[in-house]
Subunit: 241 residues, 2 copies
DNA sequence: TCATTTATTGAATCAGATTCATAATCCGCG
DNA sequence: CGCGGATTATGAATCTGATTCAATAAATGA
């Protein structure tokens, strides 16, 4: 059924077009002004056709987030494949986040909105599940790094479940994303480069966990050098600029 | 001008009524189904009157968050007045967060929504500023604890600004709030009591900063005992159950 | 008490998401 | 090819709910 396949492909291409246009409109006019009719118009399709793909506006937003998450996963997978000590890999996860936001500055803003009760609840169950599934590898990769560290004797859990270690580190990064994107919140704290700060705190926290080899978080140049090295060795093509 | 005062008081009382009713409706039907007309109806006022107080629905939501923040500040102030070592006080800030969410389970969900680009942008500038001002003491108190620690020789900054220490700790707590409230995100991580975990990671991070006296985060019972003690000494009336 | 100012009301308006009857297109078959 | 039924696209009509504002009521003060 080559014709059926073609249909499917064309459908997928159209969906991609809608998503691309939506992204462009968000970029241009802000999420606040995103209108379904506008997306349809700019894509040269009718509104009804748009709704053939997305059961609601929220559904579409969730699809956008899912797309981003896939790229995020791709970056985490590079880290997983990177031949380095678990501690370095774990730190590289933080660097991945940093590089990711640089390339997708709108992602966390959008993700934050989509994870909101209101939007989450208004999207279709299917789309929610797809997002959760897409996210799943992120946790799994971090989890496996923690397990490697334990196996190699670099980290003792001391009664903590490996997942709980993950959640601790994840809180730190997620929290920084939230703070950065919460308009006005960081204002009084004049932080120049929040993501570099996040990296430093990540090292601090890893030290607190006594995850060997310890890293002197105090040594700014060493921190920058490590970040630089990871960019080169792991995210080479994504780190220009 | 007793009559003018009375007017003012009545206006404030009515505003409070609107807020209370809104909170109740959110509690009952969810944020998703909150409608301005419903709020007005349940408050026995006309829609137009509601708009006399809040320039938009988003404005009203922001006012709700601001109310909560004031209580949050009250708790932080107790910590600031608490006669204990800076490290204990800093930890108590985390405990304050934990107790606060228990008493206001809807707060962070709502706050997360309100800090979203869409809602933030749709509220009035005045209301935004009021929220920011209400928030300000939270940061200031944490900041002062950090400074105390440095003054008393319990903590070296090693090139970090005091604000940057704050931001690191704040990321951790904010991130945990975000994770807890992001539907489905923590699912795979089966964390029983995320806020207790947050407390533990907070201690870990403070250790990582080499903030004396160090605390053995590994010692579960000691952690629980400390949390318990803080509840008793600082948040006695708020900690029942 | 009455004129004037101020506040309240809720029906009308408006914006924008969503639906669905109609029109167009596609597909397999003779 | 051309036809009839099935599938898909269309966009005007509908629906929802926020917001406005002309009409009405209440308060003020001379």
């Amino acid at each position: 059924m080559s014709t059926k396949e073609r249909k499917l492909r064309e459908f997928a291409e159209r969906e991609q077009r809608f998503l691309d246009v939506a992204r462009e409109l968000i970029q241009r006019d802000g999420l606040l002004n995103l209108a379904m009719a506008r997306i349809a118009e700019e894509s040269d399709y009718a509104v009804g056709t748009l709704y053939q793909h997305f059961s609601s506006k929220e559904d579409l937003l969730m699809a956008l987030v899912t797309e981003d998450v896939r790229m995020h996963v791709d970056m985490f997978e590079r880290v997983a494949r990177w031949d380095a000590k678990p501690r370095e890999r774990m730190f590289a996860i933080g660097v991945a986040d940093m590089v990711f936001v640089r390339r997708h500055p709108e992602h966390f803003r959008l993700a934050q909105y989509v994870l909101t009760e209101v939007v989450w609840g208004a999207a279709s169950a299917t789309r929610r599940q797809i997002l959760l599934d897409a996210n799943q590898p992120l946790g799994a990769i971090v989890h496996s790094i923690v397990r490697d560290a334990v196996t190699q004797g670099d980290l003792e859990l001391n009664g903590l479940a490996p997942e709980e270690v993950c959640v601790g580190l994840w809180s730190l990064t997620m929290g920084m994303h939230s703070l950065v994107h919460a308009e006005g919140m960081l204002q009084d704290f004049n932080v120049l480069d929040p993501y570099r700060l996040m990296c430093r705190h990540l090292q601090t926290q890893l030290n607190g966990l006594n995850w060997r080899p310890l890293f002197d978080a105090t040594d700014g140049p060493a921190l920058d050098a490590l970040i630089e090295r990871i960019c080169h060795e792991v995210f080479n093509d994504l780190c220009s600029q």
